[in-house]
Amino acid sequence: MLKLPIYLDNNATTPMDPRVLEAMLPYFNERFGNAASRNHSFGWTAEEAVDYAREQVAALINCSAKEIIFTSGATESDNLAIKGVYEMYGAKGNHIITATTEHKAILDACKIAQKKGAEVTYLNPGRDGLIDLNELEAAITDKTILISIMYGNNEIGVIQDIPAISAIAKKHGVLFHTDATQAVGKIPVDVVADGIDLMSFSAHKMYGPKGVGALYVRRKNPRVKVTSQMDGGGHERGMRSGTLNVPGIVGLGKACEIAKNEMVDEAIRLSAMRDKLEKELLTIEEAYVNGSIERRLPHVTNISFKFVEGEGLMMGVKDIAVSSGSACTSASLEPSYVLKALGLDDELAHSSLRFGLGRFTTDEEIEYTIGHVKTAVDKLREMSPLWEMFKEGIDLKSVAWQEH
């Protein structure tokens, strides 16, 4: 039986896997100890659970358990990476390279670093969402200390060429950080093979709980250190103080273990469903996929339906939870900065929907979605003056619009 509403916004967050919840539950009450309590069994039990989770996380990304710093989520991990590296390596240089399509956690942390004297280069990707490696290398100066480029984009799912980027960083002796929030647990991410020095990720994007994430910090070749941004008891090798969120960490560990065992098969299943959804929706006239189709996360597609406004479209498919690059709800009325960075017209950015499939998405849900999106696009085009003008052969760019 099809249950409504349908959740296709798995890039925003994922539901918890019941196996994760089950693993976490004892750590809320009977095993409630503080992992830093060294002198009684309550503390030891909690510490054991954290150690075990650290191994589970490390196994997923192929690192040592000692290289995992638990945080409250990817936003904190991003802040710790950018600000922590900038403060730790300030004597070496003050230049950071990132991209305009990064998550706000990276962009805003970079802005703060700029206020403290950092120089930041923001690379603009091509129409496919990929950054130009020559441009990246050309941007490196003798002051460059960090390159931060996300693994897979949250809005369009485009996967950057991480091994090539890290090779460039290594060649110039620059640290490489990646925000891999959307990639870890979805596709194989191997910090050794990928040459990553620091990596942010979060539990709630991979069927774990909200409020917990991690920063991978390399310990060998090179040994990387970050200046803590949260000071207190010196937890997490002094890089992130604060009593450990034991149930959350247990949940992250379990989510990583499940992902390690299942993500390859899951990716095959999800990409087949995603491709079907995409193929069907592209039969709609004037519908376009945003970003690279070849280099993309298996569960995401971002499609613009021209002459229809995204928020209006979402209202037409109210039983389907998706998200839009339209920013009709924001005071600025600015559409998605990621889509704009690809060189999309504002109009196309306003017309986009992002579909994020997940572990619990069914074929039946995809069928329902295909039908309802088609109907809603038809209905809204019937009432769209732009569609009428397009059908009359009027070039919309030639119209003198009365902008507000």
Binding site: E311, G312, M315, C328, T329, L333, P385, E403, H404
Partner: protein
């Protein structure tokens, strides 16, 4: 953000979608907004010369649910009014009727502008001066 019942009703059952003959002497057309801003409204009125009443009104809108509802409501209100009465339709009345939240007030502003632009288009066709908008929206 949840939509009000009235916005949902207008969205699901939009009143007066359509197109009037914009070259007709008795039809005034207002096209406002811009695709880049995510809102375009086209509102048209047809005036009965003998009575001076707006006998028909049609709209088409590219925009969010609140923009669609604002223009749909505007066409309902326009029908049966004189042109002078129609000029008095204020965006805040639309905000109130549809319970629009602050971030959606611009949708009502756009609808008011569409009404005024349509009326001016009609006035110019009839050899009258366009009416200056005293409100500063942009």
């Amino acid at each position: 953000m949840a939509y009000s019942d009235k916005v949902i009703d207008h969205y699901n059952n939009p009143r007066n979608i359509g197109t009037l003959d914009k070259s007709s002497e008795n039809v005034g057309t207002g096209l406002v907004g811009a695709p880049e801003c995510g809102d375009v409204m086209r509102l048209q009125i047809e005036v009965d010369d003998s009575t001076g009443l707006i006998k028909d009104a049609k709209f088409k809108t590219f925009g969010c649910g609140s923009a669609i509802a604002s223009s749909s409501l505007a066409t309902e209100w326009l029908k049966g009014k004189t042109v002078d009465e129609a000029l008095k339709i204020d965006n805040m009345a639309i905000v109130e009727e549809l319970s629009l939240p602050p971030v959606k007030i611009h949708c009502s502003v756009l609808a008011e502008d569409a009404i005024k632009t349509a009326i001016n288009d009609y006035r110019v066709k009839k050899g009258l001066e366009p009416i200056e908008d005293t409100k500063k929206h942009y």
